[in-house]
């Protein structure tokens, strides 16, 4: 199966262009934009990890190493399209429109953190594995029924492909020709379980075969490959061609979450090695340097600008009004039931020090 689903690369690890079809889009402006979005994602991830270590936010889910997969795919959809993230896909959501403040609020345990900006179709992160594939398919199906050309882009991990919902999502999308792009980030592990114990299949892309959905396998650390191939899948979906399954092969450097200790189940030296070889930012940097699109002043300027943006978001998070219990009661139904109203009243009366 590996021969049938070869790994598509556009830029080699040493920064050489391997596929001329991308040449046209690879101008300095576009690539700088790509790089900037990846750097922003990485700096934000590092910041969040540090904030967790300092106890300023709760358990956090890192994605460092997966920036090209998330940013490249997010850049391939347009305003009006739909995005379905998991708990790990902040690089995708912040690229598509989530504010950094929202991300911080999410991890400080605020409901407000899951709400996308007005006009952006981003679902709240799905915590139960694979459940969001069906929502993406349903939303895409609705768009098709409404004769629009909007598409769904849905993220999930390698472990998610074991769940029934993964198979049901692909099958429905295939039967109803829903315009959805199933974007898998194969980062090698589902918590402690490596790919080869998760499945006996050699690739995830091949799982599309049984549903007659085209499956492609790409180098998820090559942002050009991610962008180009996702764009193709998005355009096909937009033009009535139905779903695509993309397997982006990547690697998360760190633990599954800040609550997890990877030394129990994997040799962390591999991560260290990969920082110097397959790193998605490094690869683009090498290409840009080879093409003389890179300048140190530019790099320092964007780094400074991102750092300011993050600090502003952090201040906004800290100044955010305190969480309000009414939000919890108000949003269970459109109109709270008498049970909820009684519980709210009882709760607040006890808080006020009254008996009831």
């Amino acid at each position: 199966m590996l021969e049938k689903f070869p790994l598509t690369q556009y830029v080699s690890e040493d920064g050489k262009l391997l596929d001329d079809t991308a040449k046209e889009m690879m101008n300095p402006d576009t690539l700088k934009h790509f790089y900037e979005k990846m750097l922003r994602a990485r700096m934000m991830d590092k910041k969040c990890t540090n904030l967790q270590r300092q106890g300023r936010i709760g358990t956090y889910v890192q994605y460092e190493g997966q920036e090209a997969a998330q940013v490249g795919s997010a850049l391939a959809i347009e305003e009006g399209d739909w995005m379905f993230p998991t708990y790990r896909d902040h690089a995708a959501t912040m690229t598509f429109g989530h504010s950094l403040r929202s991300l911080l609020l999410y991890w400080v345990g605020r409901i407000e953190g899951g709400i996308p900006p007005e006009g952006k179709n981003i679902f709240p992160p799905a915590v139960p594995i694979a459940s969001q594939l069906l929502h993406a398919t349903g939303v895409a199906w609705a768009e098709k029924k409404k004769n629009s050309d909007r598409v769904s882009l849905v993220y999930f991990g390698d472990g998610a492909t074991s769940e029934g919902d993964f198979h049901e999502g692909l099958n429905f999308a295939s039967v109803f020709k829903a315009p959805v792009v199933f974007f898998n980030q194969n980062n090698g592990y589902a918590i402690s379980v490596p790919m080869e114990k998760q499945m006996n299949s050699k690739t995830i892309a091949q799982k599309g075969l049984s549903y007659d959905i085209p499956g492609i396998r790409i180098d998820g650390n090559d942002i050009v490959a991610v962008y180009m191939e996702t764009k193709k899948a998005v355009e096909r979906a937009r033009n009535g061609g139905g779903p695509t399954l993309i397997e982006a092969v990547t690697w998360r450097y760190g633990a599954h979450t800040t609550a997890d200790d990877p030394s129990k189940y994997r040799d962390q030296s591999e991560s260290e090695l990969r920082r110097g070889t397959t790193d998605p930012l490094l690869r683009l940097e090498k290409y840009m340097k080879n093409e003389q699109f890179w300048s140190e002043e530019w790099f320092q300027a964007i780094e400074q600008q991102i750092s300011n943006e993050i600090n502003t978001a952090l201040a906004e998070m800290q100044d955010f009004p305190e969480a309000d219990i009414d939000n919890v009661f108000d949003n269970v139904f459109e109109k709270p039931t008498w049970t909820l109203e009684e519980q709210r009243e009882h709760h607040n009366s006890i808080k006020r020090g009254q008996k009831s």
Binding site: G58, G109, V127, E163, I191, Y265, I325, N327, Q343, I350
Partner: protein, 332 residues
Amino acid sequence: MTTAVQIKQLTMVQALTDAMRTMLVQDEAVLVLGEDVGTNGGVFRATDGLFEQFGEERIIDTPLAESGIVGTSIGLAVNGFRPIVEIQFLGFIYPAFNQLMTHATRMRQRSMGRYTVPMVIRAPYGAGVKAPEIHSDSVEGLFTQIPGLKVVIPSNAYDAKGLLIASIEDPDPVLFLEPMRSYRSSRMEVPEEKYTIELGKAAYVKKGEDVSIFTWGAMVPDTMKAVEDFEKNHDATCDVIDLRTLYPLDKEMIQKSVEKTGRVVIIHEAPATGGVNAEIISLINDAAFFFLKAPIQKVTGFDTPVPVYSLEKEYLPSKEKMINAINTALSY
């Protein structure tokens, strides 16, 4: 010759590991299955060290699929094994609900006893550990409604070991819920030898005369804190009972306590409506109605999803609410 019983100070999670180890040693048919239970030793380390001791044929890292894990465990159980299934968090059991509802709990009746499902499903649950959404669900009431399923919840290390061993030895499916907040919150003396605590039996946490308090899981230590405060300042005492098994309930113990005190407070962190509290009230209505001196009080979570962590503390029954309910019960 008598052998002295070895006693160790264990946390609840260590006591659970100890229970599984005891049964894995005793019975070749016992298997542990779940996500990350092998090399990783479980995300809460409940299966720590078992993989090294018993190997991958018995401590099995499964693919990430709850319906798959429970469904295949039904097959393993019917065909001679005793699977202990770990669902990583109770909030992720929903994909397996179908297997539980439609097969695990009905196989015995459907086959008139030919096929049985001696299986334990373990799952951490409950709020108060600042976990992300869904991880903190306290939905035990969903499961006490499934005919053919026993539901067990320990509140301390000693009970955890005895109840888990009894659950593994039980010939029918048992859902064993582990309060996350209690996993490491205290240590207790736990004998090294094998012992069981009969399912369906509640336990006294403390005895008193004036109000009966029924609770379970992580609410037991919280309730005790409120009761200590209350008793310091009032001339009344509480009978505090840890129900331990939610299906079937310990009718006799509930009845006796209500006959003694005539006043009742039920405390749980699950949502208020349609929960186990309603069943306890119904049981008291049947068994001890004429002994009641006051309406039965309840202190519960809300009919809302457990809020994400900035508000989860407000969701959990507070000491103020508990004391308020005890006072109300006494005010009649």
